[in-house]
Symmetry: C2
Amino acid sequence: MNQIPVAIIGLGPVGQLAAKLAVQRPNLRIAAAADIAPEYINRDLGEILGLPPMGVTVRPTIEEALKTAGEPGAAIVCTGSWLKRITPQIVACLDAGWNVVSTCEQLSYPFVSCPEESRLIDEKAKQKGVAVLGTGVNPGFAMDILPVFISGVCSRVNSVLIERFQDASFRRLPFQQKIGAGLDLADFEKKVGEMTIRHVGFSESVQLIAAAMGISLDRIEERVYPVMATRTLRSQFLEIAPGRVCGVDQICQGYLDESAVITLHLQAYFGHPDPKDRTFIDGEPPLDVTVKGGIPGDTATCAMAVNAVKRIVNAPAGLRTMLDAGVISSWLAR
Amino acid sequence: MNQIPVAIIGLGPVGQLAAKLAVQRPNLRIAAAADIAPEYINRDLGEILGLPPMGVTVRPTIEEALKTAGEPGAAIVCTGSWLKRITPQIVACLDAGWNVVSTCEQLSYPFVSCPEESRLIDEKAKQKGVAVLGTGVNPGFAMDILPVFISGVCSRVNSVLIERFQDASFRRLPFQQKIGAGLDLADFEKKVGEMTIRHVGFSESVQLIAAAMGISLDRIEERVYPVMATRTLRSQFLEIAPGRVCGVDQICQGYLDESAVITLHLQAYFGHPDPKDRTFIDGEPPLDVTVKGGIPGDTATCAMAVNAVKRIVNAPAGLRTMLDAGVISSWLAR
């Protein structure tokens, strides 16, 4: 089998997990890795992942990592949520002739929030004859392309409601901190104001759905509410007293003619009694689709990024989204 | 808006419903229609559909219908389940320079069951610079591309189980007859032997999933069992006495190394207590996805065909499948 060369850019939890998944794939071969952390630089990637040596040395810059990687393939960029910050990294990959799959939330549908970066990336990718895709589980799947895909069997859609409910007590500590778990209400509101408590990619998901369904929204509204512990709640990392925040309840809505036609409802808090992913399409026919227990966050994001590789290397050049990157599927392991 | 010209080929229940849906779409314009039924020939399509006159006259042949239709767009071909029989019709559309979307079950993944027709259609389509797609709800969605799409968030898949359970008492008469409703067991078995009781497209769905997940199956096994009425059952059309057949229980499995890695389970009988569409992926993570009540058959098939039009006119030339035709979505109606 002709293996696709893969570069892992960023070795945080998401990048490391993506690397581990890529190692398992017979059709992929990790050819390069980059991270700025001093403790990783110049070490073998396998060693960092807790695997046998791989003959891939972690480099401090993308340029250095890709320079010696041989034939270009796809770079999996897991370095941040905000597109403005990571655009130079994407461009560095493109300059070296590599396709890019990234878990950057804003890249999932960046045309509205980051029009300049979108244009720059699209032009550069076309110039180099490669493709770029932002994906993950959310944004990238559960609250955008999955509902869009399901709508394929509807003759018309009046409105879409998407719920993603998660019990945050089983997630890793950075996620628990990101949803404000353990804060008092004043600190929670302060962090919401600073936009450090916030799901990045919400409006991007709404925009992708609107684009898929052929409408131009009048406006998008996003709200973040605290969920308060009513008893002592515990995770592996935190203990939350009653009266303190145990997570978030977030709503993002897209409006058309003063009517909320697209509603995304995200709840992530300790002890959620009904974790699930659900899409309800009010249409012809109405469709009510539930993923029992919900799709786990980190694993699914990394799986999606790795599964996207074989699509992106054959996609038309330019900045793609989940709407025009084709159907991305997993592999059946023998 | 630039409207895509659409031709409706075949005015049975599916073709008529597809035509009605196409009429509602601002981005489509019905430009031609063909059917061999003497009672339809030379009449206005609108009249046949119970709508105002449309200025589209039904012609007895595809050649005649498309000759006067102007700029080519997409022909929606709803004339049969078996690809060998309808290949001349598809070729006639291609010869006139039209893309084709068809509800022909075997066309959903025709490469194994109809290799010669597949090659002929692919070559002709490429020669004419147009694309061909077989789609519908099943095959075409519920038991193939939907599970494949969902697997995108799995880092690996061990096996796939897909259930489609339907209460057949609410379907139209031809469907009820196709599942043997009302027969005695001997007649049921006879018709199974003659292959007149059988879901067409089962093995095609299994093959599409296998192709998406990168495996070559050793074999596919298909079985049809009767479901017997244990009390008197009624529909708008039939009354079924206890002891007679009230529907079918069908299983199709794809084997890899003596293990059934893909299982499709279709139940359609009067009074099914738990109608639904369900995909269970045994993988990492495991995923259990249910469409409450199930996706209705005819509406969804027609919706999918009509929704596919805007994809197929922009798809790469040749014979496509739901795997490489891109994500097909509905529209949000104002």
